[in-house]
């Protein structure tokens, strides 16, 4: 059993200006290399949870915190924001808010330069990041003039150059067209499966991510109300409906038939491919 990449126990946080806690008794563990999906309505506390993971809570943001947050074995209360930045990076929803350098290369260099690393190490990291994000031919370009998909990719690269163990992505595909979305999700899969990074991703586009993630957390009003495998969470749409959420399209369609008595052999399909396969089995009469 490896040490957890992320361990949150009994985390409660209330902003100093707020009338009630934004996070309430959060318990969450991610094992190294896992891709976890975080879903929940706006205002559920997802953003506050990110701030706690990168150490801005409790170091910079005023409020009352109880409980413990540890990333890669480092307790956020005992390590500075700069120390935490070498263990956990965040890619925001809107890459424009994150990118500011005049070239892609400077963007990738910014984090390592701030760590005061030797020049050859910085160069090595820029190359590694550019290779990972497959934008080696765009290093001289101005990020502001790249497409939305390329900008999102550069934002991921700038986090990668810090070599964190945990990467948080806040709705990375919400501003992207289908092709760009698929490229970004494939990149996320590579970061986890080939490089062992632990990923926490918030995403509304469930159809795309249902087949990609290992674990799903559902947040509502500052609490984690559901926690399980994709099959445990999406495969039981009634519990999502009760929370005002929907399951992936293939699951919803199969569920509508299941409620009429159709037998899907215990597990509802989650992705389009699984949906198609399930209906093929039905045709052959083998649930």
């Amino acid at each position: 059993m490896p040490a957890p990449a992320v361990s949150i126990s009994h985390l409660t946080f209330q902003y100093s200006s707020a009338p009630a806690p934004s996070l309430r008794d959060i318990n969450l563990t991610l094992v190294p290399g896992e891709i976890a999906l975080l879903i929940g309505p706006t205002g559920a506390g997802k953003s506050t949870l990110y701030l706690a993971l990168i150490g801005l809570i409790p170091h910079l943001i005023r409020g009352t915190m109880a409980g413990r947050v540890s990333v890669a074995g480092m307790d956020t209360s005992e390590h500075s924001i700069a120390e935490m930045a070498q263990k956990v990076g965040i890619v925001f929803q809107d890459p424009e808010t994150q990118l500011f350098a005049l070239t892609v290369e400077d963007e990738l260099a910014f984090g390592p330069e701030n760590l005061g690393l030797p020049k050859d190490e910085i160069v090595r990291r820029i190359r590694a990041a550019a290779t990972i994000i497959q934008l080696t031919d765009l290093l001289e370009r101005e990020p502001a003039r790249l497409s939305g998909g390329q900008q999102q990719t550069v934002a991921i690269g700038s986090v990668w150059s810090m070599l964190p163990e945990v990467i948080i992505l806040d709705e990375p595909t919400s501003n992207l067209d289908p092709q760009s979305s698929q490229r970004v999700l494939a990149l996320i899969q590579t970061l986890s499966r080939e490089h062992g990074k632990t990923i926490l991703i918030a995403e509304h586009n469930l159809d795309e991510v249902a087949g990609l993630v290992d674990r799903v957390f559902v947040m509502q009003q500052g609490q984690i109300v559901l926690n399980g495998t994709p099959q445990e969470i999406f495969g039981r749409p009634a519990q999502l409906h009760a929370l005002g959420l929907a399951a992936p399209a293939a699951t919803e369609l199969a569920y509508a038939l299941q409620t009429q008595g159709l037998d899907f052999g215990g597990a509802l399909p989650l992705t389009l491919e699984q949906g198609l396969a399930a209906f093929r089995r039905l045709r052959r009469g083998t649930p």
Binding site: P178, L253, L257, L276
Partner: protein
Amino acid sequence: MSAELILEARDLVHTYAGGHTALRGISLGIRPGEFVAFVGANGSGKTTLMKHFNGLLKPTQGQFLVSGRDTRKTTVSRLAQTIGFVFQNPDHQIFCYSVWEETLFGLQQQKLPPAEAQARAARALEMVGLADRRDRHPRELSRGQRQRLATASVLAMETPVLVLDEPTTGQDFTARRQIMSLAVDLHQRGRTIIMVTHDMALVAEYATRAIVLHAGQVAQDAAPADIFLQPELLARTGLRLPPLLELAQALRAEGWPVEGHTVAALAQSLQAALPAAPWTSPGAASAPPPSESHARH
């Protein structure tokens, strides 16, 4: 004829100062009361075209007309009385210190009587579900709530045309339903609704007309259902069917007689096609019957 059009583009070309031509000869007309979706991949010219609606950009060739008036000869404030804009990034729009001030701002600029302005602002906040947050600083709101605030400040202007730029970006299932039922409601009251999006599920569900932009030109202008039946058009223009319709199409390709655009309709047609499938006894399924309110798309 053009007098009947509330928006009209005539051979519209737009070339940016840097030399990039984003629009390459667009001609189209939108009649009052339509529910139109502009769709296209990133970089197709959607945003550039939209900025011509309110005069933020002017054609470098051709014309753009709002209620028959050439935008080059009309002030932006005049255009703003016809067209309300809800932008993709609410933070580009919000600048006041409270939700209430933000909602009132545009109305005060128009010098409406205070009682009328306050009534409109209150109505708009009610419509987006932020009535209980009027004294909060916009920064204290979540992104989804800020997007709804931006919507409220535009709704308060009560313009005949409402443009929604990626209205569901960053919105969860519930908020998406809220914002779109608001659009449907306004449409039923006679407003012209224009949405700019790459969310094809949204187009399938709500629009009566879809205009596909690709490389600065109109690639197709048709009913959404017609566009969904053209896989090569979708592939060429970087669009993708909504997941539910993608599954329905794949099933149809394998010979299933599936009909409809909603979970309920598709399920019904599949049920009829599966008489010999392994059905358990009626009512044996542990789950409750499907609820219409959760049917997707």
